[in-house]
């Protein structure tokens, strides 16, 4: 007997070659990841006014929510939010210029800065709202111009950008491993946010390797993927209340 209704096949084997696990219970909300990410990825400094108007450009942000009405307010665990590196990303098909594309090799969403014309459609269509746009050419106050990361492009006005899972570090580790004729080892490198987290709330690694720490954590059972019901196949798993 043939099955009349075709099965929905999600591209599971491609999902989350690189993945992240975030434990909200031990996140203290100290923003060290935000600062480290900005330093690592040459993120510009938008200033107080623009930041207050919803133009902050952090690739990772700590979302704080509360439940109930004042004075009986209960804080919920801090929620670090960054690009979820979706397996089926809503931002990708809508770009008219192919500036936001999928890397099948790394299972990452890439943003090609020099192809971006700034229609901002990708940011509208991102359900996590984690893309940031260069509204202006912002001035970097001293001494920030002295610490650019030479491995990362500096973006100009009119271009969209977002978390890359520190792709420059991924590539560096891959190159080193290749020159030594081996695979990238688990824990050999990590992203700037995970490296900076004093509480080790962020774990990064290969999810296609079942022995890696991130795979073991991700399969612990009570992990949650944000807005999974939209079919975006995110690569970041969150733990809360465990």
């Amino acid at each position: 007997m043939t099955n009349a209704i075709p099965e929905v096949k999600l591209a599971e084997e491609h999902v989350g070659k690189w993945g992240m696990v975030i434990n909200q219970d031990i996140c203290t909300g100290c923003q060290a990841c935000v600062a480290a990410c900005a330093m690592e990825n040459n993120i510009t400094f938008v200033g107080e006014e623009d930041s207050g108007y919803g133009r902050s450009m952090h690739w990772i942000r700590i979302e704080r929510f509360w439940e109930g009405e004042y004075p009986e307010v209960k804080m919920t665990p801090n929620q670090p939010m960054l690009c979820q590196q979706c397996g089926s990303a809503p931002c990708e098909p809508v770009c008219p210029a192919f500036a936001t594309v999928h890397s099948t090799a790394e299972s990452l969403n890439l943003q090609v800065y020099n192809r971006c014309v700034g229609t901002r459609y990708c940011a509208n269509n991102c359900p996590y709202q984690v893309r940031s746009f260069n509204w202006r050419d912002y001035e970097r106050p001293e001494p920030l111009p002295n610490q650019f990361n030479p491995d990362v492009t500096v973006r100009r006005r009119g271009v969209m950008e977002k978390c890359t899972f520190c792709i420059q570090r991924i590539h560096k580790a891959q190159d080193e491993a290749k020159s030594e004729g081996r695979e990238v080892m688990d824990g050999e490198f990590t992203t700037a946010c995970a490296q900076a987290c004093p509480a080790t709330a962020i774990t990064f690694g290969r999810t296609d390797d079942p022995q890696s720490l991130v795979s073991q954590l991700a399969h612990k059972g009570h992990g949650v993927k944000h807005l999974e019901e939209l079919g975006t196949l995110p690569s970041v798993t969150y733990f809360k209340g465990g």
Partner: protein, 476 residues
Amino acid sequence: MADHKHDAGHAHTEEHFREKHLMLDPLPRGQMNDMVMESMTGKPGWKFWTAVIILSGIVAYGLVYSWAKMIAEGVGIAGVNRPSYWGIFLVNTVFWIGISHAGTFISAILRVFKAEFRRPFTRAAELMTTFGLVQAGFSVFMHMGRVWLSYWLFPYPNQRMLWPNLHSPLTWDLLAITTYLLSSTMYLFLPLIPDMAMARDRSTGWRKNLYKALALGFRGTEGEWTHLRHAMNIFAFAIIPVMFSVHTIVSWDFAAATRPGWNSTIFGPYFVVGALHSGMGAAVIVLAVIRSNMKHMDYFIRAEHFDAIGKLMLIISMTWAYFFFNDYMVQWYGGDKWTHQLLHFHEAGPLGWMWFAMLFCNVVVPWAILWNTKWRSTPWLVSTVGIIINVGMWFERYIIVPISLTINRAPFTWRMYTPGVEIPLGIGTLALFILLYVLASKLIPLIPVWEVQEGQMAHELKKFGRETVVSVSELE
């Protein structure tokens, strides 16, 4: 014959018919041609120059200076932010495409259905399409972060074999708008040819050279008329599906996205009807302005035309209300918590007044005024309703773009949108639209004289006993 209802007080006299209907009130052809030539080539008065100077000033500041400033400093001087990444730029894009719709609608649909009342105002309406699309193009290009690279959105052969992404609704949009601009310009040009020939034979100097070039050597032989009729017929039929597709594709920019409030399957027809709603309103404003400001135009554009367009406006307003309710009802019934948040925000948020004003302008006002023949035949009243409808439709687009963008699935980013340089830019596009009309009124006949004359030749008043009856002969 579109409309020859009789009022109780009037007898069916010949004078009554002639006074009421342009088609039954023929003038000698030479005289009519001279009237149109005079309205076009007459020495422009102070009114014309004042309008040109003021409008050029607004265009220079609003469009040229403000846009140059935005290109030099970045989109940051506009009010767009996270989460309202689009803002008034896209409101204006959708608004102008909407305006440009009615031109083709009036001209093509009414031509296909042989509605006789269309004859004197097809040209003014078609110009609205072309001029409106120019503003839509400006609005969509100025919202881009790096507009100097906008040619990347066009499919052109290049060394790196990079093509636009055909999965993106924005690419469809660009192709659709380009198709629409080209086809509507050709459709505007075809019926212009005989008028250009007429103007060529009645002018001197640079005008003669201009009209000579534009008339393409048209002499009015039987063969030329046959070819022209064929071409116009093909274009009138072909442009109707193009017109529907363009605004449907504009709606897909929103409907194809994953956002609450946008992801609606009815957006296609809802947008088409919304476009016609604002476009008919704009057409009636244009007609009223032409009628009261240009010489001899009260002969061509009469109360009967406002009456006829008023009826269309009323029907379109009802259709819009139906689609609005349909969209709202299904979204609300779906029970999605984000959509509920958004719908609540539409009505009870800080800009909730806009939601109610939209319904008042788009539904209450047209329904309250346009049902009455007498009110419908009053040019200033119908054109005021046209202005109100356009305000309402602009509010509708404002609710769909920045207000709906405010509420998304990431509550941490919810933030209000305050327009910045979008306002001078938007006013600049409006001024350019009017300026193009003002200049066009001195360059091309806004009334298709030959079409009016053709209609008048086909109409005849016959007497049966004491009763006067209108008879229309088949032209083709």
